[in-house]
Structure formats: C-alpha cells, structure tokens
Chain length 350, copies 2
C-alpha cells in the first residue's frame, strides 16, 4: 500500500476520530449517526480527498501491493481458515491477497503462475499436501519471498510452517493403544499426500514399538468415493478394533462407513478437528492442528522476508491438541477394568 497515493476509509475515520464502521455509516447514510457527526466525517473525507480518490481510480491504475496465496482446495475448511488469517494479516499491513486454487486438475505450477504474472510481493503456497515439486518452487523462491504452509517438514528452498506429522500419527496411535487396542488400522487419502504419509509412518513406528502389526488403507482424494472405500477397507481388515484417520479428507467418510456397517464398538481417532465432530455419535476424538496459528506464522514469515530479511529457510511447527470426545476412548470389545494408563504399553499379541 502506498499511503501517499491512497486514502482509505480507515484514514477518514482516524481523521474524524471515529471508528471505520461509524465513518462508513456517516458517509453512506446508515443508522445511529447524528447530523453533526455525519458532517464531521464528510469534512474529513473531503479534506483527505477520499471520494476524489475513488473516482480517479479507473483513470489511474492501482499500484497497491498484494501477496499471492495458492491453496490446494478452497472447498476444504482447513484452507479457508488459513486464508482468513493470512488475509487479515495482509490487510493490517495494507496488502491485498490474490488467490488461486491448485484444484480443478491444475498442477502446483499452474496455480502459482497466474500469481507471479500479477506482481505479488510474496507467496503463501498451501498446495504441499499434493506433493510439492521443490524444483519449481526453488525457481520461484529465488525471485520472491515464499512460505510453504501445511508443509511436510523443513524446506530447502523456502520458509515452511506445518505440524510434526510423524508425531501426530504416533500420538493418536498411542492414545488408542492406551485403551488396550491391539488391532489398529490407519486410513489416509493417498501416497501423494506427503503429510499424511508421514503421519502413517508415525502410526506404523508406534505400532511396531508396541510389538503390533501396522496396517494402512488409502481411501483416495474424492469425497464421494471415501465412504465406499472405507466400508471395503473395514471389511477387509475385519478384526480391527480401532481406526486412526490421518486427515480430515478421509474422516467423515470413515465415520459414515462405521455407521453403515453398524460398528458402534469401533474406536475412531482422527487428525484434524471437524465442524461436526461434536455432533457425531459418539462425538469424535481428534488431534487438532492450530490452523489459525499456522496462518499467522506464515504471514509473519512472509512479511519478514518482504521487509528484507534474507536468512536461510526457516521451519516453524504449530501445536497439536488432543480433544477427547468419546470415539477415541472406546475400549476394545471384552476389555474390563480401568483403561490402561496412557504411555504404558501392553504386552504384544502372541
């Protein structure tokens, strides 16, 4: 933003000593504004050339700064939550936000390319779960500040923010093992999702450390297909007593499948909180990523670099929080007595 060439509503409000929303009402005839106040705000707007500025807009092309945000899929709430925080942070600094989706069959490069041609001052790239081709991003990051969000881990070419994916898989697995489960299935979207593969690895390592056999089922990326594939996976793994879902994309379909099969005894624990998790029956136990903190950290790292910071790529991890709602605490069938203390291991199955 160039404060010398652009007068905003906030400037008018500050000049008149009122809030921006009061200034808006005063200028546009909203309720609750006295005549005297309205006159004061109009005078401030005129003094600053607020209206003149807008009228001149179509003649004089805008040169305000913007950042670009490329997300994997806007229809997944995770990305909307990241974008909401990044947009707020950009807004506070006078930057606009230009967006693209990698969805609709576009590659990451096809999603990022339109942002580059729009002269953005930096990029937030949240397409990493589709497998970031760092060769391409390295190219971009040589020219522009870039932050990868929902990154599988540290990046060699840019700043990156994410969770400890292996630890997330391990923590949920330990949680269900602590209730006495021994036959635990991991479900995820697919092997192209590098974060989910890492969560599966954390699950598998925890199973093996407890002397148990890891089993994974990959349910795909299409919401319409997940329930059916989950039914098949649960049938094939007929003797499991607990399931760990590695990503929101597979969780609701999994819960639908558990319902469809009448498997009310099955413990379910999932990475990512869901809007409806509290309304499931039983309510869903989740390991929540601090998505808002992820967006806030991404914005901070990006504006750091836009501001001139030129150090080596940084990596920041956000916190995970286990929310025990019931589904993940169901004991295995036939279990008696108090649940096993978390952290304690049962003897491996013979």
């Amino acid at each position: 933003m160039s404060p010398l060439t652009r007068v905003t509503l906030a400037d008018v409000a500050a000049s008149a000593g009122v809030s921006p929303s009061t200034a808006s009402r005063a200028l546009h005839g909203g309720a609750g504004v006295s005549d005297e106040l309205a006159a004061r705000v109009r005078a401030a707007a005129e003094g600053l050339g607020y209206r003149a500025n807008r009228n001149a807009r179509s003649l004089r092309r805008g040169h305000d700064e913007a950042i670009g945000v490329a997300v994997e899929d806007f229809t997944i709430p995770f990305f909307g939550r990241v974008v909401a925080v990044v947009e707020q942070a950009a807004h506070e600094r006078g930057y606009g936000v230009v967006i693209t989706c990698a969805g609709s069959g576009r590659s990451e490069e096809e999603a990022v390319e339109p942002l580059l041609s729009r002269s953005v001052a930096g990029l937030v790239v949240a397409t990493g779960t589709a497998g970031a081709p760092e060769g391409y991003l390295a190219d971009v990051a040589r020219e522009l500040p870039v932050v990868q969000v929902d990154a599988p881990g540290p990046s060699a070419v840019s700043d990156a923010v994410g969770i400890d994916n292996a630890a997330a898989g391990a923590q949920l697995t330990e949680h269900v093992l602590a209730s006495g489960h021994e036959r635990v299935l991991f479900v995820g979207s697919g092997r192209a999702a590098s974060t989910v593969v890492l969560r599966a690895e954390g699950y598998a390592a925890t199973m093996r450390a407890a002397g148990l056999t890891p089993r994974c089922a990959w349910l795909g990326y299409l919401p319409g297909q997940v329930p059916e594939r989950a039914v098949r996976a649960l049938r094939e793994a007929g003797d499991v007593t607990a399931v760990v879902s590695g990503v929101a994309r597979t969780t609701t379909g999994l819960v639908s499948a558990v319902r469809a099969l009448g498997r009310r005894d099955l413990a379910v624990a999932a990475v990512d909180d869901l809007a409806g998790a509290d309304a499931f029956d039983p309510p869903l136990t989740v390991l929540e990523q601090d998505v808002e903190d992820m967006g806030a950290r991404a914005a901070r790292l990006l504006f750091d670099r836009i501001g001139g910071y030129a150090g080596p790529p940084r990596h920041e991890q956000v916190a995970l929080r286990l929310i025990q709602r019931g589904s993940g605490e169901l004991p295995p069938p036939g279990a008696t007595g108090a649940p096993v203390i978390p952290g304690r291991r049962r003897a491996p199955v013979a």
Copy 2:
C-alpha cells in the same frame, strides 16, 4: 490479462503442442518427459520469451486484470465453495481474483474498500447474509460491475444470485409436517441475516397455513455459543417434536444439543448440506443449495457486465434439493401407521 505483454505456461504448452502440466514438467525437470520433448518445450518457451517475461516482472509492474471477491467468512465452507468456482471461471478468462473477508469485525464497506483501491474490473460480494447496505453498494455499482451472491432476493442496484429463501423454509417445514409433526421449532443465527429471516418467514407461513403456531429461536453467529443456546432453546420449547434449522451456521450446534439432551426422537431438517451430515446419527436430512451453480452464475453475470452488458439488475435463483437421510423423517412420538402424504395437512392442535 493482456496476451500481448504476458506469456503464460499455457502459451508455451500450446506452442509446443503439449498439456500445461507436461510443459511444466519439461521446464522444471519432472518425471515422464523425454529429452526430445523437454528440448521442444524449452525451445517454445525461449521462442515466446517465457523466462524473460518472468524475469522482467519485478521491473515492470503487472497490469493484468483481476476481479474482487468479498466474502462474509472464509472459515464457512459455503464461501470457500463459491470462491473456488468463481476463481476457476476467472482463471479461464485470464483474470486474477483478489479476496477480502468481511469477518474480523469489518463492515461490508471495509471489506469492499481494499478491493476498489486495487483496480478490480468487477466485484463479487458475498457478504449479504450480514445484511447488505444497498446504499453503499449502489455507490460502488455505479462505477463497477457488481454481483451479489447469497442474496436475499432481487437487488435494485446490482445483479444478484441466491435461492428462494422463503420457499426453502416452507419446503422443509412441509416435509416435517408431512410426517405428522405439529410442534415444530425454527432455529436460525440472527435477525441480521436477511436470508435466514426469509427462511423463517417461509416456515412461519407454512405453520400458520396448517393451523399451527410458529416458534423461532435465534442462536447467534458464534459457533462456540450455538450448542449452549440450542440446549436452552430446546429446553424452553420442551414439547417440540421437530426442528427446522435455517442455516449451516446453526445446524451442527443444534445437532450437538439434540445429542447432549438425549433427544433421539427429535426430527431435524436443515437448510444447507454439511460435510459430516452423512456421519451424524441419524444422518441429517438437508435442503441442499446448489452452491457451485451459484458461483458459476455469479461469474457469468459479472463477466457479462465486464464485457459491456449494461441492462437493468438481474436476479437468478439456483435449485434446492431435498436429501432425505433419516433425521428429517423421524415421526413424532406415538405416531402410528403410514406417514402422512406430503401436501396433506393434519387438523390443527386444539
């Protein structure tokens, strides 16, 4: 987009006779590209000045066209779905998309203002559920093409796309009345949400036409408060046998409250489909808005006007589809025999 000054990956791909993703892999060393093909794509890129163009970018400010999209709240999947479709439509026409949120306590004007200062060619405004001050939008629409999405109805100042809100409220109400319910509660977010108020009016008119008494509860806009307020509303309306939820924002909290109160007998039907609706117990009956069609129509109306159309404000409605999953078909306690035929009214309560 100015094709005379900007070379895109798509241009390179077309020139080399390959798909954009193959062109991307060829230029950046991805898998599955022969040496001969890679050389052909690089030659096409050089011939078109593709790399030179990107390198010149920071010296020569971009002048590509963009449209602005102001949404109420990016964390609500409805808006992400609209934006995904609008972004795709804009992308196909070579336009970028600049976004802002009206959330974070910003007024609609504060959300739209930063878009105006960025010289957008037109605006999609999806902040209407907070109550669009048309006085302000009229100002904007005199200068720029504007389309209101999720609009409560026709607009005097701009093109508008939405559903028939009163019909939506009426249809869901008729659906639960057809199962024999007579004491039906409507829940919605708040009276500032003009679309939800219209849905409540459709509900109330249907109740009155059946000789029944309408009752509404307003649960607010904050997800954290909705379940608790829903519990209180259900307690206060102790004898209701069915609930119609007017908007996604209140539905999951309502279902949580129904669960918390152990009211498994209560029929629930809701406007808006939810990602987890199939996993609720019972699965949730919803009246689905065709959100993707809403985004597509908004984009078409907007680019029509950007292309020069100057007729009076148009209003388009998208389809509604009732998805019967079980929760909305629960009969009232003590009901016997076949469900009442839809459209037939039972006698009013004495």
